[in-house]
Symmetry: C2
Subunit: 370 residues, 2 copies
């Protein structure tokens, strides 16, 4: 359960940090799982695989001053570290050599697939500087495997998730020592692996070119707002995801369309939307996070932690969600952890009958109680 | 019904074409409609509106050779004309001066909203060079108004659709004479206005910066394939759009997620997906086009042209769809044109009973009979 410690590279050591190269640190975790979730566009034998060991490295010659997290998060833009990793893919050649290079803008043709057809997916995970001085990623393999699933769902290429994980760690090995320094124990940064379709082609078709990029950014520390988080149920004409859709995949198409309802809720003084589904008004997600209710069972009086199930593929299989479920099952024998459909009517009944104990949202970006 | 003729600008006249500036040619069409479909992020009074008359013009100094449509469409990339128009927007300032400039790549930060959250929408319409030598756009106002609706649905900014239409015509006035020349009567090119969220911010929020760009491209002439177009019904676990979703808006999020099913259908020898909806398996769209069936009514024997309705907001309110409906109602009194829910079971029954006369898809990119 605990994040395993990773240590940072001495290859590009701005501050004389003594951390070691952490690309080797996860070798023991390399197992060939997940990679067969879908087939590549061509027989894999004729295509180059994504291979972290082939990485080409170009360090910045003008490293920026590292802001405090508070200063970094105060502005309207997300602040990234000095470097990013990019790997390009084509349907005929497979993956290019990954390239670690100075952070900067991407050049895309106006006809690029991603700008028109939302051929895009991403992941988000935090890297923590522990009070023991070590850098840790939380269950990064799960994010890498989910990224593969999302990529195939949006008709972008496959890859070995272990290689993606190695690339994430490579970026941290370079930028971690200076941007999440030992002098700031207890702080974190955020990794955002992203894949986009880059073919310059307006036909509605699978993109025959793609780009994977990994960036490392500051991210606000989201604490529960004063008085708890206020959720507004989704309006009747706004459904986030549906059975047969793609609510389970971390693709851009789940996010942009949700902004309108979220903004309207904020204008009314709420923080997020509680997304309901179907005529029974099942609770699915809150904002862009998984959602849990804790109540007393009306018949047995036992405490239940209830969250929406994964089997109808409406919701994201959250890494934090899974961790909450596993932790509660393992450590809290007095509590029943239940993954099932539950409705807003049940939540309201529990509230009215005094059985509702709490609700919370769980996600990487934020883990809030309300 | 007939496209109104537009003539090309003498401002940037590569071939001595005698066409006139067509930004003035549509002044008579300027009415303030559609613009109130949604409210802007701030009171309009304090923000700059999109204003085509403010356009800044920088012509290319190296115009490219104009390929034949056949050569242009043979490659893997969509070929664009020499210029594009860009206008930028911020939540605090509103719209910048539009800029007509040489066609070329866009620079986006890796954190740009559009690359993660699919904050994007577009339009597509054709410009025809008539056999009378005139350039014509087909009902461009409708596309401009739909673009506004799509933009607001995906939480991008509002604008006056008349200004968007003027900008489209401005681009054609510059590139039309050379790229769709009088020497090629009966040919066309394709206009693609696109809006993307450009704020460099990974928080899931409305983008506070956006870019509108308009490009003009070649597009293959899609004729009905030999033996007609073969459609495969959508798999049970693949739903294109749903009631409460955004199937009616031309946003990227409707396209990328549909590619997987389309690709699978193509691998089985079909051309497109016939998207079904709900447990009754209503017919909605075919590929990315509206879909029509023509059958004899079982009871009356009259010919009916049937297509899915707009009221549940599942399908795109297609400009070609509307034109087919209007034309058939006006010109074919012997035919009943009906917009209603109809199911694949009804289509199969009509086929089995010998009542099915034809089916066709209708869209700007393609208008096929099968």
């Amino acid at each position: 359960m605990a994040p395993s410690a990773i240590t940072a590279s001495s290859q590009h050591n701005h501050e004389g940090d003594q951390d070691l190269d952490l690309t080797t640190a996860i070798e023991h975790k390399i197992i060939n799982s997940g990679w067969t979730l879908g087939k590549p566009a061509k027989p894999a034998s004729s295509l180059e695989p994504l291979d972290a060991s082939q990485i080409k490295v170009d360090f910045t010659t003008s490293p920026r001053a590292v802001p405090t997290p508070e200063a970094a998060n105060a502005g309207p833009e997300t602040i990234c570290t000095d470097h990013m990793i990019i790997a390009k893919w084509t349907v005929s050649e497979g993956w290019s050599m990954p390239h670690l290079k100075p952070y900067g803008p991407l050049e895309l043709m106006p006809t690029a697939s991603v700008l028109h057809y939302a051929t895009e997916c991403f992941e988000g995970l935090k890297c923590y500087r522990g009070f023991d001085g070590k850098l840790r990623l939380f269950r990064s393999r799960r994010n890498a495997e989910r990224m593969l699933m999302s990529s195939l769902r949006i008709s972008l290429p496959g890859f070995d998730p272990c290689e993606l994980e190695k690339l994430m760690i490579k970026l941290l090995s370079v930028d971690g020592p200076r941007w999440i320094p030992r002098s700031r124990p207890g702080t974190f940064m955020y990794l955002r692996p992203t894949m986009i379709g880059t073919q310059s082609q307006l036909g509605v078709m699978c993109s025959r070119e793609a780009m994977l990029f990994i960036i490392c950014t500051f991210m606000p520390q989201l604490d529960s707002p004063q008085g708890g988080m206020r959720l507004h149920t989704s309006p009747e004409d706004m459904v986030r995801a549906w059975v047969g859709g793609f609510g389970y995949a971390k693709v851009g198409a789940n996010y942009g369309p949700s902004l309108l309802a979220t903004n309207e809720a904020r204008e009314k003084g709420y923080h997020q939307i509680l997304w309901l589904y179907g005529k029974d008004m099942e609770c699915t997600e809150a904002g862009a996070s998984n959602f849990f209710v804790v109540w007393k069972n009306r018949d047995t009086g036992r405490t239940e932690v209830v969250t929406a199930p994964l089997d109808n593929r409406l919701i994201l299989d959250g890494v934090t969600r899974a961790s909450v479920v596993e932790l509660a099952r393992k450590r809290c024998p007095e509590v029943d952890v239940i993954e099932r459909k539950y409705t807003i009517v049940e939540v309201m009944e529990a509230y009215e009958e005094g059985r509702l104990m709490e609700c919370f949202a769980a996600g990487t970006a934020v883990s809030l109680l309300s």
